[in-house]
């Protein structure tokens, strides 16, 4: 695979590049700022970009991830984060990244994750609270990308406890269309009721209820 590595720690990028190249992968460019990373993606069109997320995200790692996913959809993003808080992980998910791993992971795991993501898969830190599942939770995780944006909105409103009429009203659709969305959401999440879907969504942090602005003010990211 072809990669772009973007991390404020250039020494880390260069060390990872040596390891990846020894495995036959090609590191097209190294960048140390998110803006530089976006530029390198634009120029090289890699299969996957590794992008770091720093405390406070003053450098704009999330914005870079969003830009790359929007304008260079052929490039998958692995977010390598020095934070493993749930809020950081769900913000990254909303930005459309294919994976989110903490910097407490082994090199082996990072390399494997890059390979999985380049092949279209998803890797989210199993140790991080972003993916924490209650002990004994039997329900398999489902990828949030399986839901369309409209379905996610419906799920978000279900979690917020809105009624069918209110949802239809606010989304400016008929109640029968709304019911179709709800049915799809239930099918895709493997839930039997709206209540169950809501519980699942909240537990697995599928939709995230905070906006980016909200997030910027949370202590985890501040």
């Amino acid at each position: 695979m072809r990669l772009v590595l973007c991390d404020g720690n250039r020494i880390l990028c260069e060390a990872l590049a040596a390891i990846l190249e020894a495995r036959g992968h090609q590191v097209a460019a190294i960048a140390t700022t998110p803006a530089g990373g976006v530029g390198a993606v634009a120029v090289h069109g890699p299969d996957v970009v590794l992008l770091d997320l720093r405390r406070g995200d003053s450098a704009g790692g999330l914005a870079a991830a969003r830009t790359i996913r929007q304008y260079y959809p052929g490039t998958a993003v692995l977010m390598l984060s020095s934070l493993t808080e749930r809020a950081a992980c769900s913000a990254a998910r909303r930005a459309g990244v294919g994976g989110f791993l903490g910097k407490d992971q082994s090199v082996e795991r990072i390399v494997t994750a890059l390979e999985v993501i380049a092949a279209g898969g998803a890797v989210f830190d199993p140790a991080g609270p972003g993916h924490a599942r209650p002990a004994g939770g039997r329900r398999p995780a489902f990828p949030p990308c399986a839901l369309t944006p409209r379905e996610k909105e419906v799920l978000r409103r279900i979690v917020a406890g809105q009624s069918t009429v209110r949802m239809a009203d606010e989304m400016k659709i008929t109640t029968s269309t709304l019911r179709t969305y709800v049915k799809n959401v239930l099918t895709k999440t493997g839930s039997h009721s709206r209540l169950q879907a809501a519980a699942l969504a909240a537990r697995q942090d599928l939709i995230g209820d905070a906006t980016e602005q909200d997030l910027a003010g949370t202590p985890q990211l501040a």
């Binding site: 250039r10 060390a15 040596a18 140390t32 910097k103 090199v107």
Partner: protein, 223 residues
């Protein structure tokens, strides 16, 4: 003979990747790479590494403390501090603590390797862009200390005692009790102190002398 390196970084991914990369160099062996927490100085010494690559951004200023502990020991390894930052004040603190080098994490790996080889050969490395500022800070600090010492020398032992009590947070009444004198005597002492130091409040007097008093009290500073 090769250079043995001990790596400490709070980010496991980095500690591992750096170890793997350094191992590829013919003249470098990685003794161990640890993450999250700084190990005890004795543990580091036990591994007899030539060079310690230490995360300067460890929480609670652990890196500087570890430097201080190591630098006093015999056969201490040379310490290279690695940081996301490169500001003169932190570098000056590192130099003071006995570090051999400071390398910013946005430098290249080639640069880090060069520094590892330099410090192993007994050299010191400070980012060239900051060297002037670091030297200025260290010199200014020394001058300041000399002037402060002069100020303090003008005070009588009793006046210093009064100031020390106030710096420790005692009130005037407490000071009088502690020193077995009257509140009026304490006031007189303080008036003399303020006159000698050329300040207008007790607070200023304490602020001006706190550092020297602490050093004097701990007997830490022979300078």
């Amino acid at each position: 003979m090769g250079i043995s390196v001990f790596i400490i970084d709070q980010e496991r991914t980095f500690a591992d990747a750096l170890a793997a990369r350094l191992e590829a160099e013919e003249d470098v062996q990685v003794v161990v790479a640890v993450h999250r927490r700084a190990p005890a100085a004795s543990l580091i010494l036990a591994r007899h590494a030539d060079v310690v690559i230490l995360d300067a951004d460890l929480p609670h200023n652990a890196a500087i403390r570890l430097c201080e502990e190591l630098s006093g020991r015999q056969d201490a390894p040379r310490v290279v501090l690695l940081s996301y930052a490169a500001d003169a004040e932190r570098i000056a603190a590192a130099v003071r603590a006995g570090a051999a080098a400071w390398v910013s994490k946005d430098e290249s790996l080639a640069q880090l390797l060069d520094v590892i080889r330099r410090v192993a050969a007994g050299q010191t490395w400070i980012p060239p862009a900051e060297i002037g500022n670091v030297l200025r800070l260290l010199l200014r600090e020394r001058e300041q200390r000399r002037e402060d010492d002069k100020l303090l020398a003008a005070l009588t032992p009793r006046e210093r005692e009064v100031l020390t009590c106030l710096a420790d947070g005692a009130g005037r009444r407490d000071v009088a009790d502690l020193l077995h004198v009257s509140a009026n005597t304490v006031r007189t002492h303080l008036q003399n102190v303020m006159a000698k130091l050329g300040v207008h409040s007790t607070l200023e007097a304490v602020a001006l002398t706190r550092a020297q008093l602490e050093r004097a009290a701990e007997g830490l500073d022979p300078r």
